[in-house]
Amino acid sequence: MTEKPSQPALEFAGVSKTFDPADARPAVSNIDFALPQGMFISLLGPSGCGKTTLLRLADGLIAPDSGTIAAFGAPPRPGPEIGFVFQSFRLIPWASVAANVEFSLRSLPLSKAERTERALHWLEKVGLSRFAQSWPDTLSGGMKQRVALARAFAPNPSLLLMDEPFASLDAQTRELMQAELLSLWSEQKASVLFVTHSVDEALLLSDTILLMGTRPGRIVETLTVDLERPRDPDAIRADTRFIALRQHLSKKMRELVLSDPQSDFYGR
């Protein structure tokens, strides 16, 4: 893929997508944003606002009804240039941990030996080299998530799409994984589009936060996180700028949920 440095890693222009033609409200409507290369952008929003839909559109897994999407200037195509970490682990249960990581390398022109070596290298990076020959079912949730991370990072994607990758983890594992992600990201110089519904996580990780609302799924606010890196998770929580941003986002999120007519909390 030829890429000019000025070209954004990802660009949405007037993108809408409706799954059910009978439903007047599209899943996502009129989405406009650009992800500059090397940046970390989070999509923050309540359940059902279309975050997963945006990632699937960005990977080229589904096509928009209207509008245009470009990854490095061309329509996105699923492949090794774009890494996807799914909301659920999606490991192949009958393939060993190593074979799961290797699977994402099969679209690259690598020999079997090179694939194996690269997969092991990435398993080492996420601290799982001892489990290379284990079956995925024998791993804990946090370990499975790390395998999924290794699988997404292994092909060296220039764009990473991550769908609430840490939602199912306990607080301690989540913090470790967030740190791991940030170090991988700064090493690989990839661009990241990260989905979360945790305000803290969005503030800790991102350069920019896109706040989304429901029905139709849309971007309601774009927020720049002006906190210098590296960000220490403990120190940052005491930072007044962090606290102010956090209060603002939490209030907005609450309003979005309460104003959603399909939510059980509507009008409370």
């Binding site: 699923p78 090794p80 799914f86 999606r90 192949i92 699977f103 099969r106 079912d137």
Partner: protein, 245 residues
């Protein structure tokens, strides 16, 4: 441990059989000992081995033919949707027709030899394997397929790495049902066409009230059934090593 319980239960079965033979009458239910002696006699005369060989030849050729036809066809029906949607009504219709209904036609077409018998076994075994393979391919994990797509995998890799391995447990169930029906059809075929094999001996001893010999044949068929399903179960557990124990 299981083996021990199974042996204990076998002992109970034989005990029950012995009691039944005492109460119902030895000319209807032979004692275990008489059956054993009959078995030894049939074995030393060579008739038992010859008949078992004939039956196995019929069963195995029909069953393997069914496997080689049903698995690729079922996989293709699942992979190529228009093809599957066109054929599946007919497959289900054929599966619901008692296959015994075809025996006269098979005899007219293929005669009374091993070809006809194997074909009757094939008819019985092919449907469960086909239908289960088809269902297994259709039940492919959509999330895994999407994951594979996101890595840039072409359709062929998605099929060989995700869809087909996911369908294997279904195929295994189909093979087991197919083997059972195939064994039944082996006996049926031997009774209907030229009377040979274990089915033939069953008819011979049953009609002449030689109950000890008759029991030997029944037990032989049961043993073949057990060995067959155990082999398939073993293959199944080897393929399913990844499942959490």
């Amino acid at each position: 441990m299981t083996a021990l319980y199974r042996l204990a239960f076998l002992f109970l079965l034989i005990l029950g059989w012995f009691i039944a033979s005492q109460f119902i009458g030895r000319n209807i239910i032979p004692t275990p000992l008489a059956t054993l002696q009959a078995g030894a006699r049939l074995f030393s005369e060579g008739r038992l081995l010859e008949a078992t060989g004939q039956s196995l030849a019929v069963f195995l050729s029909g069953f393997f033919l069914a496997t080689f036809v049903a698995i690729p066809l079922g996989a293709m029906m699942g992979a190529i949707r228009p093809f599957g949607k066109t054929l599946d009504v007919y497959v289900f219709a054929l599966a619901a027709t008692p296959r015994v209904a075809f025996i006269p036609l098979v005899i007219v077409l293929l005669g009374l030899g091993i070809e006809a018998k194997a074909f009757i076994v094939f008819l019985g075994a092919v449907m469960p394997i086909l239908i289960n393979t088809y269902a297994g391919v259709l039940a492919a994990d959509k999330e895994l397929v999407e994951m594979a797509r996101s890595t840039g995998a072409p359709q062929t890799r998605i099929f060989s790495h995700i869809v087909l391995p996911g369908a294997l447990p279904f195929v295994a169930v189909g093979l087991r049902i197919g083997a059972t029906i195939g064994l039944i059809n082996t006996v049926v075929a031997e009774l209907y066409t030229a009377v040979t094999g274990l089915g033939g001996l069953l008819a011979l001893y049953g009609n002449t009230f030689r109950m000890a010999e008759y029991f030997v044949i029944v037990i032989c068929l049961a043993i073949i059934g057990v060995v067959m399903t155990e082999i398939l179960r073993f293959i199944e557990s080897r393929l399913g090593r990844w499942k959490m124990s």
